[in-house]
C-alpha cells in the first residue's frame, strides 16, 4: 500500500515537472483569458462557500 502511494506521488511529481512551464505563448489575449478565469472561479468559490454557510445556519 505504502509502495503504491509512493509510486503515485512520484508519478505526480514527474507530471508536475513535465508540465512545469506552459507551452503556449503567454500573449496579452492568453493572459486576459486566464485572468478572467481566475476571477470567475474565485467568485464562484465565494458563492459556494456562502451557500454552504447558509446551509449550515
Amino acid at each position: 500500500m505504502r509502495a503504491s502511494l509512493k509510486r503515485l506521488f512520484h508519478k505526480i511529481e514527474e507530471i508536475n515537472h513535465r508540465y512545469r512551464e506552459p507551452r503556449i505563448a503567454m500573449s496579452r489575449r492568453v493572459k486576459a483569458g486566464l485572468l478572467f478565469l481566475r476571477i470567475y472561479l474565485l467568485l464562484l468559490v465565494c458563492l459556494m462557500v456562502y451557500k454552504f454557510i447558509l446551509l449550515l445556519n
Binding site: 507530471i15 508540465y19 489575449r29 470567475y40 464562484l44
Partner: protein
C-alpha cells in the same frame, strides 16, 4: 449515353463519399446523442410539460451552438493527436491541468450517478429493482468495452444512439397538432413573458446541451479513432449531423410532453413516463425505454471520458484498442468510476436530489474553463497551423462561448439560490 455515364460516375462518387463518411462517422454522433442523457431527457420533458411547443425555436438555436463548440475538439484532436486534458496540461501548465482533471473527474462521477438515477427510475416503472438495474448495466458495459476494439465499441454505441430515436414514433402516437407546432414552436416567443422561471428553463436547456465531459470525450474519441487532418471535414460533418440529431430528439420529447402533459410541473423524466403511462401506455413505455437508453448511453461515454483523461496524464495505455492486460489502469479507472457511482444509487436514503443539483453547480466551474482553454488552444498557430481558428471562427465561437459561460453560470447560481430568479 453521355448522360448515363455522367450519372453513373456521380452516383459512384457519392457512394464512395458515403462509404468514407461511414468509416469516419462516430465520435460526433455518439457524443451529441449521448448528450441527451438522463438529465437532458428530464429537462426536455419538463420544458414541454411546462411550456408546450413554445420553446422549440430556442432548441433549434442550440444546433449551431453545440456544433461550433464541438467541432473545435475535432480539429484540436486530429491535429495534436492528444486529448483535451493533456492539451490543457501541456498548454497551460500543471496547475490549470490538475484543476481541469480533478474537476472533470468530480463532475463526471456525479453525472454518472445521475445517469444511474435515471436508469433505475426508468426500469422501476417496469418493476425491475434498482440493484438488478445497476448490476445489469455494469455487466453490459463490461461486455461492451472488454472486446478490445474501439470500432466495435463505437458501433454498439451507435446502436444505442439509434434507440434514442424512440421518441420520434412516440411523438407521432400522441397525435400532436402540426399547425400548432408550426404556429407556436417556430416563431420566437417567450410564453408568459420573460420571467425568472422561463429564464431558468432556457438556461437548463443550454446547460444540458453543452456539458464539460462532451469536450473531453469527443477529442479523446477522435484521437482513439485515429483521425487525421484530412478527416477533419468529415469529422465536422459528423458533429453537425450529431448536433442536428440531438436537437431533433429533444424537440420530439418536447412534442410528446407538450401534447399530453401541457401545463404540468414535471420533476423527472421517470415521473413524466409514469404520467404518460396513465394516458397512453405505449407512449409512457417509450418514454421509460428512452430514459433508460439515454442514461446508458451517457454512462458509456462519461466513464470513458474520465478514463481517457486519466490515461493521457498519467501516461498509462488508454485505448479501447488495447485489452485489459495491455491497459489495466485504463479499465480499472473505468470500472471504479462506474461501480462506485452505481453503488451510490443503492444506498438507502442517499441524497440523490442534492447530487443532481450539485452536478450543475460543479459543471459550471469546469465548462467555462474548458471552453476558454479550447478557444486559446485553437488560436495557437504554432500547434494548429492551417487549422487555427480564423477571424470568423473566433467571432462566432467567442460569442457562443461567452453566451454559454454567462448563461450556464447564471444557471449554476440559480441552482444554488433558487429564489434569485423568481
Amino acid at each position: 449515353m453521355n448522360f448515363f455515364s455522367k450519372l453513373y460516375y456521380k452516383l459512384r462518387k457519392m457512394w464512395k463519399a458515403i462509404q468514407l463518411y461511414l468509416v469516419i462517422a462516430g465520435p460526433g454522433i455518439v457524443v451529441m446523442v449521448a448528450d441527451n442523457d438522463a438529465g437532458g431527457i428530464t429537462t426536455y420533458a419538463a420544458t414541454g410539460a411546462k411550456y408546450g411547443y413554445h420553446l422549440i425555436w430556442f432548441l433549434l438555436l442550440l444546433i449551431p451552438a453545440a456544433y461550433y463548440v464541438q467541432e473545435m475538439t475535432v480539429r484540436l484532436g486530429a491535429v495534436t493527436k492528444r486529448g483535451l486534458a493533456e492539451a490543457i496540461f501541456d498548454g497551460f501548465g500543471a496547475t490549470w491541468g490538475w484543476f481541469s482533471l480533478v474537476d472533470l473527474m468530480l463532475v463526471n462521477w456525479l453525472t454518472l450517478v445521475t445517469e444511474f438515477i435515471g436508469m433505475t427510475a426508468a426500469l422501476n416503472i417496469f418493476g425491475v429493482p434498482s440493484w438488478l438495474t445497476v448490476t445489469g448495466v455494469v455487466l453490459l458495459m463490461a461486455i461492451i468495452v472488454l472486446n478490445g476494439r474501439y470500432w466495435t465499441w463505437e458501433k454498439i454505441a451507435l446502436l444505442f444512439c439509434a434507440l434514442n430515436l424512440i421518441y420520434i414514433p412516440g411523438a407521432f402516437m400522441v397525435n400532436p397538432s402540426v399547425s400548432d407546432i408550426l404556429k407556436h414552436g417556430l416563431i420566437p416567443n417567450f410564453p408568459g413573458g420573460f420571467n425568472g422561471q422561463l429564464f431558468f428553463f432556457l438556461m437548463a436547456n443550454i446547460g444540458t446541451t453543452i456539458a464539460p465531459w462532451m469536450l473531453f470525450f469527443q477529442q479523446s474519441a477522435v484521437v482513439d479513432k485515429g483521425m487525421q487532418e484530412k478527416d477533419i471535414p468529415w469529422g465536422k460533418f459528423d458533429t453537425l449531423l450529431g448536433s442536428a440529431l440531438t436537437v431533433v430528439v429533444a424537440i420530439f420529447i418536447v412534442i410528446v410532453t407538450g401534447t399530453i402533459l401541457n401545463g404540468t410541473d414535471i420533476e423527472s423524466a421517470g415521473q413524466a413516463a409514469e404520467h404518460l403511462m396513465q394516458t397512453d401506455r405505449y407512449v409512457g413505455t417509450f418514454m421509460a425505454i428512452g430514459l433508460f437508453d439515454a442514461g446508458l448511453l451517457g454512462a458509456i461515454c462519461i466513464s470513458l471520458a474520465s478514463s481517457w483523461a486519466f490515461g493521457e496524464i498519467f501516461g498509462w495505455a488508454h485505448s479501447l484498442n488495447q485489452n485489459i492486460k495491455q491497459a489495466p489502469w485504463f479499465y480499472a479507472s473505468y470500472f471504479f468510476t462506474l461501480i462506485t457511482s452505481g453503488l451510490v444509487v443503492l444506498i438507502p436514503g442517499a441524497p440523490l436530489v442534492l447530487i443532481t443539483l450539485f452536478v450543475q453547480v460543479i459543471a459550471v466551474t469546469l465548462l467555462p474553463a474548458a471552453l476558454v482553454f479550447l478557444i486559446l488552444l485553437l488560436n495557437d498557430r504554432h500547434t494548429m497551423g492551417d487549422y487555427c481558428n480564423g477571424v470568423w471562427q473566433n467571432l462566432i465561437g467567442g460569442f457562443i462561448v461567452v453566451a454559454i459561460v454567462v448563461l450556464s453560470s447564471l444557471y449554476g447560481i440559480s441552482v444554488m439560490f433558487p429564489n434569485l430568479f423568481q
